[in-house]
Amino acid sequence: MNETFLRRNLQPIVIWALLLTVPFWLPLFGGYTALAGRVLVFALAAMSFNMLLGFTGIMSFGHAAYFGLGAYGCGLFLKFVYASTPLAMLAGTLLGGIAGTLFGLLLVRRRGVYFAMVTIAFGQVCFYIAYKWDDLTGGYDGLRGFARAPIDLGLTKIDIQNNGTALYFFILLVFGVAAAAQGFVLRSPFGRTMLAIRENERRARFLGIPIEKHIWLSFSISCFFTALAGSLYALLNNFADPQGLTYVMSGNIVMITIMGGMRVFWGPLIGAVLFVALQDYVSSAWPTTWMGVVGVVFVSVVLFFPRGLMGMLQKRAGT
């Protein structure tokens, strides 16, 4: 390891060092490990969303749908099919990902506000189904009565069921693999066409890039990753919540991304830290008006810190 390697990769090195040692330092600040699990899940959802917003320049405001479908898919599988955590995650990821891929077909020719509105409406369709189909989904009360199963590795079992630290590291493992996969996609020739579409759609089209197909693909990829995050959320809480399908959740995913910095790969992770900390603090400090306080924070971020924390730091370092 020479000096340039260190300097070039300082960001991921610091991030991974902190993430791997969470159970040791988080309690010192009065946090608990489940909180860190929530940060990772939201971070993964927002990073997946950011593949669209930050890297393809496409504005979905309905990503809660795929997040929520991931959670329901995972929970339903555990409850009704088979008590296997990896298979349940696969089921959730497929459910949300395939739904996103199909919705994406109807979306690709729309742009801007219209695109956003249709994504919101699709999200609401999913909420509506989960809400109405209460025999299966538990309706308004959400889906309960399932539990994450220990991971069976043949020789040994990892007890993510009762051991909070093991659960955290399991989530961290999934997060790490997913983040690596996202980085891989973004650095590929296909990933560069996403950037091209964001930067200048007309130019990209005249280079011969089939824009609609590429937007559809990146939407689909983003939805699969978001659904994976959703399945982790179901495991984390042993619960799937219909409120998690609404546009409020979509707004939270957008907010996390903006807070952290939407043009920055790790931005949403930082955003998730800020968001979860804020949520945790505000809901205990202002139990009755926490919504208004969160609203004020949202509005302030939009007006005064639109580049997000990482965006601002990078700008400063760059100039």
Binding site: F184, S188, R192, L195, R203, L207, G208
Partner: protein, 252 residues
């Protein structure tokens, strides 16, 4: 024995409702030629250009590339057939580096744009081709700068480099020096001349700046009110009375 023309336009007309933007224009561009299309504002230059690039089809008439009609091939298809183009307002990927701009174009040209990964051989192919177009556009020293932060002239060069990355056989430039100062105009003109003289590209350009046109072009076509007014070498055009009346007299 004449060769097949690179580009041929036969009696092209384009009407928008009752407005005839281009009226019965014919033109033959030979391989290796540098053709300039000039004309006062509203002469139909941009419409004419859009007919060639496939932005919309002609109302009547025919457009042929390498002797084949391309009337019904849309813009993207014409790019694949070897038409590279730049735009009046520079179209680039501003927040990416020169190298990334070039690389995206190269990868698209090579049909790699849906690939999730490249093997070592393909990677080298992409890197070499990107280096090549950056060298041609004289941008190697600025390869890792964001295109959006470069001067107008360099941005235009980058745009031309992207067009070159698709290995076009015909280069269409829409007012390549529009809105540029003398120094930048000189830079871009130099680039176009090198591409024409050294790399033997066939080039059609629309231009406003008379110095550029008379400096560069082998042949000049003059459009006025949608019609072809005159056609000839720069010397012939300069001496043409009609052109002087219709255009040069007013412009100079």
């Amino acid at each position: 024995m004449s060769t097949v023309p690179k580009l041929e336009i036969r009696n092209a007309t384009k009407q928008f409702g009752s407005l005839v933007a281009v009226s019965n224009v014919s033109m033959v561009v030979q391989p290796g030629e540098l053709r300039a299309v000039i004309g006062p504002n509203g002469a139909g230059k941009t419409t004419f250009f859009n007919l060639i690039t496939g932005f919309f089809p002609p109302t009547s008439g025919e457009i042929l590339l390498d002797g084949q009609t391309i009337n019904h091939i849309p813009a993207a298809g014409r790019v694949k057939l070897g038409m590279g183009r730049t735009f009046q307002i520079t179209e680039i990927f501003p927040e990416l580096t020169v190298r990334e701009n070039a690389r995206i174009a190269v990868e698209t040209g090579l049909g790699f744009s849906l690939r999730a990964w490249l093997n070592a051989a393909d990677k080298k192919k992409v890197a070499d081709a990107s280096d090549e177009v950056m060298t041609m556009a004289n941008l190697t020293s600025k390869a890792d700068r964001l295109v959006g932060e470069l001067s107008h002239g360099d941005q235009r060069s980058a745009e031309i480099a992207m067009a070159l990355a698709l290995k076009p056989t015909l280069l269409l430039l829409d007012e390549p020096t529009a809105g540029m100062g003398d120094e930048e105009t000189f830079q871009v003109t130099g680039l176009i001349r090198r591409l024409h003289r050294d790399s033997k590209y066939t080039i059609v350009l629309i231009e406003h700046d008379m110095r550029v046109v008379f400096h560069l072009a082998d042949t000049i076509s003059v459009l006025a009110e949608g019609k072809l007014l005159a056609q000839g070498t720069p010397a012939e055009i300069a001496a043409n009375e009609h052109v002087q009346n219709a255009y040069l007299g007013k412009a100079e």
